[in-house]
Point group: C2
Chain length 456, copies 2
């Protein structure tokens, strides 16, 4: 992983980080790195995640999934960290047959189940506690859908869960393959564990190479941001946020990294968003969002860092030459009101002649980066060699290490998410599963006391 | 469409809008509404979009697409406003067979083309000017892929474009069905025109009902925010932004509204993000993002408004009862470190007994809203009766009207997007399609002058 902070310096952008401030911050990075290393040695909550590339045993995973390997489809039932890591890895590997059911929308769930050949689908149910309401609900629905097609769900289900709890018991009772979620690793830091790798392993991908990528970044961690790309990124985000860049627009230039941007958004929001602090992640996608978000990024409030991510090599897909028959051989009469106003038809077409899609996408990457710089807006460039198993391992590990460092600099509890409990208690109470009278909870009672100002 | 501002009042949240401030703002809404009405009467740029429910002729669209109607798949080639409206309508209608190619990623494009049965696919190419580089490039690639399968692309292609330009000429030459993009309507405001409705019409949906929904909201526009849900929302966003809610997290509780959140993000960012102003849209999804973004929304910086959107009726999908065989009939031993820590297995399971997915999702909607209120964080609730053709018409029109009003209050040029031109010129120059020597542009030359601070 390669990080370029050039366009985030105060000499280039507002807000930006003065070189001298980065130098001073490096002293804090040194001390933070020592704390991180200590946490890893002690296997402390969260820090333990940074050892996953060494701790996760790909052979053990491959053996456990062997009875189910080769399925045409994998359906992951999980939510949050139990789904996003797996989706991120699957997408980077180009596997469109790993599906995620991470919401409890009846219309969506019904459509997904209708579209899947359940006889050829392996179900993985992922929940550390085994008590996540959304996950249990979907599991029960999928199980019933399998039964309705005369399929034995116990023959095509695998669970990834903690040492005990309802899912663990269920696995024991039905002799389901069951894998452990690693101890002391919050879900959002689990991409390089069973949580993120099991679906890819079922589909036959080389998950060892994903771990290799993570290991390469892990072995490069040092006490200086100038030597450690992950820390350079984490420190720059922190320093820019302190100077006003309260939004971090994660904008990969690769469709296969769209889930990665979502995964990053959870990592960043849930780890750093506490005690009034934390940079807000915004998910974007290049080049598409040039036609959606770039106007705001370039000309709106100076509260954003744009993180541009790309693989340095892409597959080739030539753009065929337009034929003689008029695909824009003559000049277009562009309307000044359109979303794509300026170029003449000749210019637009000339720029495509003899090139390919990847070259066009990379030109747009460079153009967007330069266009932000020309407007004095900060951006950071992150690159990996290729978008493959190793590349996604690098990116996931690198951003996790960046997040852990940023958490140290902010001084927050990176590995907890206390603010979400209130809503869980409220929902449970509304559904009659709470500890109070009639299964309610005090939070659920508060739901009924809302203030209304309705306009209809 | 029904808007509830109760949880955005200063009495309930920080930041929040004092009732008295809303009352004063209503005077400005009255005057803004007069300007909007004048713009509509004059057919002025952008304001004309608010007449689309009356201007768009569904029968003309249905007749134009008749030769292609009933195709198993529709592939929309367009980008930005030329894609998002169509994707939003298609998704709300539950149609998974309308696909969008709105990026120039070679790996993604190749995969999409491999997965589509091209013989059963209709291609729609959408670009007002007919010169959009990404759209032309993808069009040339898709055309070649059809030819490679021995298919005549001219028999399965329809264009949606302006009065002149390369696509218009091409349509003339090959006698392709061609539909006009409406005059004076920027792409991002085109959901209720040919741009948003053609793919749905090809697939046989009742696009007249989408327009009906828009018309119902249009007919309710009045000079007071207290009588006009769309204006209530636009005014509240403006007033909250002025008080520090610089981020607007659009969080629909419906998977089928995920593209709607993206569509909204373009509408909001490109229309309002100018001259240092504009509220930053963040795309979220309920209930999924409770396990990702809610921690930040509830406990991070007080710079957010959360917009909660839902249909009031959902389809039914009962959650089957867990059997005797242990699916969590006993208490789980939840780990304090997990993403789903608290509940006992009994509580989690009890809350699912005898309910259905939609009830669970609605409980989570209410719980999230109340959990934000309990932390004094502002939210606005937007509801439609059902998520169907009419409902998505209401939502699109309603949010467009909200955006137009907000633009008036900010005092920006809502209907242009000048900041994106720089990057387009740069990309064109990099690819040799500019007006300068060797096809370069001054912007492209600036790309080479970047400052580096590389860590690897």
């Amino acid at each position: 992983m390669r990080v370029d902070l050039g366009n985030a310096l105060a000499s280039e952008a507002t807000p930006g980080v003065p070189r001298a401030a980065l130098d001073r911050l490096d002293g804090r990075v040194t001390r933070a790195h020592e704390r991180i290393e200590r946490g890893r040695r002690e296997g402390a909550l969260g820090y333990a995640a940074l050892d996953l590339p060494h701790r996760t045993d790909p052979t053990a995973i491959e053996e456990a999934v062997a009875p189910l390997a080769g399925a045409a489809h994998v359906l992951v039932v999980g939510i949050g960290g139990s789904a996003l890591g797996a989706a991120t890895v699957a997408s980077a590997l180009g596997d469109g047959s790993i599906h995620t059911l991470d919401n409890v929308d009846p219309a969506h769930t019904a459509r997904l189940l209708d579209s899947l050949p359940l006889a050829d689908t392996v179900l993985t149910v992922v929940s550390r506690s085994g008590t996540t309401a959304e996950t249990l609900a979907n599991f029960l629905v999928v199980r019933e859908a399998m039964a309705a097609e005369g399929l034995d769900w116990t023959e095509r289900t695998l669970v990834v869960t903690g040492e005990s709890g309802p899912l663990r018991e269920l696995a024991g009772e039905h002799a389901l393959p069951a894998l452990d979620v690693p101890a002391e690793v919050p879900g959002r830091f689990g991409a390089l564990s069973t949580v993120g790798l099991v679906p890819a392993a079922i589909r036959g991908h080389d998950i060892g190479r994903v771990l290799d990528g993570g290991r390469r970044v892990a072995e490069g961690l040092s006490g200086s941001l100038y030597e450690t790309p992950a820390y350079a990124y984490g420190a720059a985000c922190y320093a820019l946020d302190a100077r006003g860049a309260s939004v971090n627009a994660m904008m990969p230039y690769a469709e296969a990294l769209e889930p990665f941007a979502e995964w990053f958004a959870q990592l960043w929001a849930e780890s750093l968003g506490k005690e009034g602090l934390g940079q807000t992640p915004a998910r974007a996608l290049g080049a598409t969002d040039q036609h959606s978000q770039l106007q705001l990024y370039r000309a709106g409030p100076r509260d954003k860092l744009v993180t541009l991510v790309r693989p340095r090599e892409r597959s080739e897909l030539p753009i065929p030459a337009p034929d003689h028959s008029g695909t824009g051989e003559r000049a277009g009469n562009a309307s000044a009101t359109g979303e794509d106003a300026p170029a003449t038809g000749e210019g637009a077409l000339a720029s495509l002649r003899g090139t390919d899609l990847g070259t066009l996408l990379d030109a747009e990457f460079q153009a967007t980066e330069a266009s932000l710089a020309a407007a004095d807006r900060p951006s950071v460039r992150i690159e990996v060699d290729r978008l493959d198993a190793s590349g996604i391992g690098e990116l996931c590990y690198g951003l996790e290490a960046a997040c852990v460092l940023a958490g140290e600099l902010y001084g927050v509890e990176t590995f907890t998410q206390p603010a979400v409990e209130w809503g869980k208690c409220a929902a449970r109470g509304l559904l009659g599963g709470g500890d109070g009278e009639n299964g309610t909870t005090s939070e659920a009672r508060a739901v009924g006391e809302r203030t209304e100002l309705v306009v209809e």
